[in-house]
């Protein structure tokens, strides 16, 4: 993850989205802001991935976020990150890598 003005961000997200869109796994709305949602094929694939053992740690993390962090807005998430990780994120120079 990279330290951007509004918090941590990975510039590869754009490529990931193009990868998924090219395979008709997601659809991206043209409205502002853009909305990303799973297609039927994407949903099916996600269920398949979630059932795989190697992805179980990631699934557990996602489950922990449901009804918790997932309900926060972008600004609230940014504020929370700066509050919890002032040294690791808040004080880093712009565009530098955030290390665990």
């Amino acid at each position: 993850m990279i330290r951007y003005r509004y918090g941590p961000w990975d510039p590869r997200y754009r490529q990931f989205l193009a990868f998924l869109e090219a395979r008709q796994l997601i659809r991206i709305s043209v409205t502002k802001p853009e909305r990303v949602s799973l297609t039927a094929a994407g949903l099916k694939l996600a269920e398949q991935v979630a059932a795989t053992d190697s992805f179980s740690p990631i699934v557990e993390r996602c489950d922990a976020m449901v009804g918790n962090l997932a309900a926060l807005t972008g600004t609230q998430l940014k504020d929370l990150v700066y509050e919890l990780f002032p040294t690791e994120v808040g004080e880093l120079p712009m565009r530098s890598e955030i290390k665990p």
């Binding site: 193009a18 990868f19 869109e21 090219a22 395979r23 094929a41 694939l45 795989t52 190697s54």
Partner: protein, 639 residues
């Protein structure tokens, strides 16, 4: 305007005169009433012809505090834009103007150069008249009064402006203490009466009572506190602040002696410790062995700490390798899953792409460029194998480090135990050598602690005693102040010897006036004024107990007559108003010819003394025998 007798123009002597009243209508038209042609001006006219209103206008310009509608009526508020009164004070002319425009209603303009708030006019008039500005006790008895109130011009005005509804009392709703203050102001001894120390004396007496109560309270509480502290700490007796110095010196001396005793014992103990190294039963190598054991324990602890760091580092590396292996597992699974999902939309142009589009096996169906076989899976599997080997190596290294750490822990525990045993032995040996001195040292330390505690309590005692001193001082100060004010009061009393004379003179003028009305409305005895409390007596009883309604009207005509005569007094202390405003004295069924006679006598007095009287009445003024000017009010308003 009708002249019934040839009057002399109004003389502008000492005191206040009203020369002219002006009322500016909203249309710009100005109504003016000139009072300067005679000592007495009589405003006549039927009901609702503004006779009373004209007097109220004078009152309003003298600083009436209410709104125009409240003081003069809504009709005046609607019709007029400004009211003015031209006056003379001790012969000097002034013009007081009240305008009704927004923002000006609470102000009075004087001579176009002074702009006062309504509340400031009274003070201005007192200053110009040369009358004293006094504060009077708010109550009949100055000694018991707890507040003061200013004696204003408006309070005095109520005695010279007798309104239609105040012919049976000095002034409507006037407090007795205020009436006495106004009478004493006119008679010229208000400063003696109110600038004396009576009020201050009362205040000082209350303060002395409060200070004595505080002193009693402080005396009891401080005695108890001091006694408790002294007894608890075993201090020498403390009587007052002065004795504290002696106690402090005594305690300091005692502390120095005990400290010196402690130093002496400490030196003896040190000497004994040095000379005891050769004593039988004492192992001379014990300190060196303890030092060696301590060094060993420190070394073992250091080694254990280093090994703990190594173990932690190995565990972290193993965890990273495990997470890398898991990540590669995910990569392999993802490659398998996504391999079966061909690209169906061009990410660049977003057009649909057919995966079954004819193309060579060795080329991309999307861009037709040659492609090589997918080696991501093989590469990931190779990396996984390398990481698994690394994980095994790390496990071995971790086991070895953990075994070393366990050994280091055992060594550290053993060295620490040995050091503790040696330290204990050394301590026992030293204690046995110093034992003879310990009891004495403990006693001395206890004594030092006790003396230091006693010394620490002294500032608190000083504070407690200083409260007593302060309270005692406050009582002394209050007593001195009472004595001073009492002396001052006695001096004032000696200087006020002409008070009785002035009261008697006022009463004489009233009696002179009333003697002409004996059996013509006045059947009571002589008026006297008490110099002590300025009570007006008729015969032997207070005036209000002895007079009926008709007689009261005559009483106040007599009072007004007497006030006019104050202008004849040569001294400057007397505050002669020089003006009377009498609103319709035909009151309480008093015979009209008696009233006419009374007004004529007042007018003659005004003419003779050079003062001014303005009277209003419904009937014409032809019956008044004294020189006067009659102003017939021009308009009659519908009711």
């Amino acid at each position: 305007m009708i002249e019934s007798a040839p009057p002399r123009p109004l003389r502008l002597g000492r005191g206040l005169r009203v020369l002219n009243v002006g009322m500016v209508q909203q249309s710009g038209e100005v109504e003016e009433y000139d009072f300067s042609h005679a000592a007495m001006t009589v405003l006549t006219g039927p009901r609702n012809s503004s006779k009373t209103t004209t007097l109220k206008v004078i009152d309003f310009c003298f600083g009436g505090r209410g709104s125009v509608a409240e003081e003069l009526g809504a009709a005046i508020d609607e019709k007029y834009a400004a009211l003015s009164v031209n006056i003379a004070i001790d012969g000097v002319h002034y013009r007081l103007l009240r305008e009704f425009e927004h923002g000006r209603r609470g102000r009075v303009k004087i001579d176009d150069d002074t702009d006062l708030l309504v509340g400031e006019v009274s003070e201005w008039l007192l200053g110009k008249l040369g009358w004293p500005s006094l504060s009077i006790p708010l109550g009949r008895n100055a000694i018991t009064a707890t507040q003061q109130t200013p004696l204003t011009f408006r309070s005095a005005l109520r005695h010279i402006y007798r309104r239609e509804d105040s012919w049976t009392d000095f002034a409507a709703k006037e407090q007795e203490y205020l009436r006495r203050a106004v009478v004493s102001l006119f008679l010229g001894f208000a400063p003696q009466r109110y600038e004396t120390a009576d009020y201050d004396l009362g205040q000082a007496q209350r303060e002395i009572a409060a200070a004595e109560a505080v002193f009693r309270d402080v005396l009891t509480s401080t005695d108890e506190s001091v006694r408790a502290v002294v007894s608890q700490l075993g201090l020498p007796p403390v009587l007052n602040s002065d004795s504290l110095g002696g106690v402090r010196a005594e305690l300091m001396q005692r502390l120095a002696a005990v400290r010196s005793q402690r130093d002496s014992i400490t030196d003896s103990a040190a000497l004994a410790a040095q000379s005891a190294d050769g004593m039988p039963g004492f192992d001379p190598d014990l300190p060196a062995r303890l030092e060696h054991a301590s060094a060993q324990a420190a070394g073992a602890a250091e080694e254990a700490a280093s090994l703990r760091l190594v173990v932690a580092e190995h565990e972290r590396s193993r965890s990273l390798v495990a997470s890398d292996i898991a990540r590669l597992h995910r990569l392999v699974d993802a490659v398998d899953i996504f391999d079966e999902l061909p690209v169906r939309i061009c990410p660049a142009c977003e057009q649909s792409v057919d995966p079954k589009r004819p193309h060579d096996d060795a080329t991309c169906y999307l861009c037709m460029q040659p492609v090589s076989g997918d080696i991501r899976r093989r590469r990931a599997e190779r990396e996984q194998r390398a990481l698994a080997t690394e994980q095994e190596d790390l496990g071995d290294a971790l086991s070895r480090a953990q075994a070393d750490l366990d050994g280091a822990h055992r060594m550290e525990a053993s060295a620490t135990k040995r050091r503790a045993r040696l330290a204990h032995s050394l301590q026992d040996a030293r204690v046995s050598r110093l034992a003879p001195f310990m009891a004495a040292l403990e006693d001395v330390a206890t004594e030092i602690g006790r003396v230091e505690q006693q010394l620490a309590a002294l500032p608190a005692l000083e504070t407690i005693l200083s409260r007593r001193v302060a309270a005692e001082q406050a009582v002394k100060t209050a007593r001195r102040e009472v004595a001073r004010l009492s002396d001052l009061g006695n001096a004032d009393a000696r200087g006020a010897s002409d008070t009785s004379e002035r009261c008697a003179e006022l009463a004489d003028h009233m009696n002179d006036f009333l003697s002409h009305f004996q059996d013509r409305g006045w059947v009571a005895g002589l008026v006297t004024v008490s110099a002590d409390d300025l009570t007006f007596y008729v015969g032997t009883r207070p005036w209000e107990d002895n007079l009926g309604a008709e007689a009261r009207v005559l009483f106040f005509l007599a009072y007004s007559f007497a006030l006019l005569h104050l202008s004849a007094r040569p001294d400057q202390r007397t505050c002669a108003p020089g003006l009377l405003l009498l609103d319709n004295p035909y009151q309480q069924g008093l015979s009209a010819d008696v009233v006419v006679d009374a007004i004529s006598r007042i007018a003659n007095a005004a003419e003779r003394l050079g003062t001014q009287v303005v009277v209003t009445q419904a009937r014409n003024a032809d019956a008044i025998t004294a020189p006067h000017i009659e102003i017939r009010m021009p308009q009659e308003y519908a009711t």
